[in-house]
């Protein structure tokens, strides 16, 4: 009996089929806010029905079960190799059971072997800490929203975006404008100011591990998060880009140091089908508690 395999399989199933409660609450609130009788309201009603149906049937919320991103917090000396092997086995099994679509394609040959396992898939991110707990968080990120992510290299003259917080604000709002309709809104932004091209995107995605209702401890970033959220929701883009009051459900921003020559703002967009869960494992590999 492999407890870790069972735990990871259940983590995948639940992540694919059950929207986290913080996101569900935000969607219910946005349905209440939309004007009655509009197509925005219809869209949100269908979204709510879909969330309930997926949970009830234990089937994927969205058929694009996405890139499979594991984030593992582990103690020093943790066996990452065995974890990786078990995670790949769990992904293959979850695909056979229909919790995940056959969603991983060889980029050179175009072949899809139906396992969801291959070079770079699933993605595993390990982070060591000086305590004994093992926490595994999983994000399933669909391709529609991944495609509307954007990385800006400041300054950008045509957006009047200089190397300051106002410049960051301008490019983030530009990303919202460009994503309209395409990323399955209402969406959630994960943003990294700074870093290099790789770490910028990497850190922008870690913002999706935050609770939707949390507040940023850095005052400048907190103010920017609230400002972007309010401004985006005043643009009239709405759910699915149909028009309406709810364009974004949340904005999460972090900052990383940069080299003097570079100033990247990396914006990742998450669709309303925000599939993110996590577990803390006990010493035997069983699920101790759920993190969201």
């Amino acid at each position: 009996m492999n407890h870790l395999l069972d735990s990871l399989l259940e983590l995948i199933r639940r992540t694919s089929a059950e929207i986290p409660e913080d996101v569900n609450q935000a969607l219910i609130q946005s349905l209440e806010n939309e004007k009655k009788g509009t197509i925005a309201e219809s869209a949100l009603k269908i979204i709510e029905q879909n969330i309930a149906l997926a949970r009830q049937k234990s089937q994927p919320i969205c058929q694009d079960t996405g890139s499979i991103l594991f984030y593992v917090d582990c103690p020093v000396g943790f066996d990452q190799i065995t974890f990786g092997e078990t995670a790949r086995a769990a992904v293959t099994l979850a695909t056979k059971k229909g919790f995940l679509r056959q969603n991983s394609v060889d980029s050179l040959t175009g072949k899809n072997d139906g396992t969801n396992v291959g070079p770079g898939a699933p993605a595993l991110h390990f982070h060591q800490h000086r305590s004994p707990e093992v926490r595994v968080r999983l994000v399933l990120k669909g391709g529609g929203c991944e495609n509307v992510g954007a990385q800006y290299s400041l300054p950008i003259e045509k957006l009047h975006a200089n190397r300051d917080l106002d410049g960051c604000r301008r490019v983030i709002l530009d990303a919202v404008l460009q994503a309209q309709g395409k990323g399955c809104g209402p969406g959630i932004l994960g943003v990294c100011i700074g870093g290099d091209r790789a770490t910028g995107y990497e850190l922008s995605k870690t913002q999706f591990l935050r609770l939707l209702q949390d507040r940023n401890p850095v005052p400048e970033l907190d103010a920017l998060e609230q400002d972007i959220l309010q401004t985006a929701n005043a643009l009239g883009i709405g759910p699915m880009g149909f028009g309406g009051k709810t364009t974004l459900l949340g904005v999460k921003i972090c900052a990383a140091n940069r080299v003097p020559a570079s100033f990247f703002v990396s914006v990742s967009y998450m669709c309303w089908a925000y599939r993110r869960q996590g577990v803390e494992l006990d010493a035997t590999g069983n699920i101790g508690q759920w993190l969201y």
Partner: protein
């Protein structure tokens, strides 16, 4: 909040659209109309569009004349009796098919394109010229939309393109969508883009 079934509050003003999807029925639709689609539709996404655009032929048994093409890569589970069950079937982003769609509408007599996120000028022009509409389904609503798939009638090109990219022949009933590009030269996507760009300019 009602859950589990389609809420009755908005179903009444929806327009029923049933196979065959004749030009007359399609020309009667306007941007903003909510429709419930019933009949046969064929899925087709990136690989199929590229293939048809490059002169590929539809396999025997597939006709898009007065038909609907659905931008969708479903999750299908093979049953013990060899049949398929559709367990998730929301739309995929349509704009990737923009280089191909207009010509395919014209060449194959397509009357409706179901997808998400809207399409561009060339598709809009083909809709106007040939009598076709773009039907926006709710992205991500894979379970609600899978419930509308009553039968998986057949699958084509599964070996060549893989399951998500194959042509699946689906029998659907009361599949909800919104007309966002009509056959009269209107696009909700263009209108919202113009309005939201103007709103953003005021706030920079």
């Amino acid at each position: 909040m009602q859950r589990g079934t389609l809420a009755s509050g908005f179903i009444n003003h929806m327009i029923k659209l049933s196979f065959p999807f004749t030009e007359e029925k399609i020309r009667a639709l306007k941007v903003g109309d909510e429709v419930l689609i019933s009949g046969i539709v064929f899925t087709g996404r990136d690989a199929v569009h590229k293939y048809l655009h490059e002169g590929g032929q539809l396999p025997p048994g597939v006709s898009l004349q007065d038909g609907i093409i659905y931008h969708c890569g479903p999750v299908m589970m093979k049953q013990a009796d060899g049949s398929w069950k559709c367990t998730a079937a929301g739309p995929t982003t349509s704009i990737r098919e923009e280089p191909y769609q207009g010509q395919i509408i014209h060449d194959f007599g397509v009357r409706g394109v179901i997808g998400k996120g809207g399409m561009g000028d060339r598709t809009m022009a083909a809709c106007q010229q040939d009598g076709c509409v773009y039907l926006h389904a709710i992205g991500g609503a894979a379970q609600v939309l899978a419930e509308c798939v009553k039968k998986v009638r057949n699958v084509y090109f599964a070996a060549e393109f893989g399951a998500p990219e194959a042509i699946w022949e689906l029998e659907i009933a009361d599949f909800p969508a919104v007309v966002t590009i009509d056959s009269h030269g209107r696009s909700l996507h263009q209108e919202i883009l113009n309005a939201s760009t103007a709103e953003l300019t005021k706030r920079l």
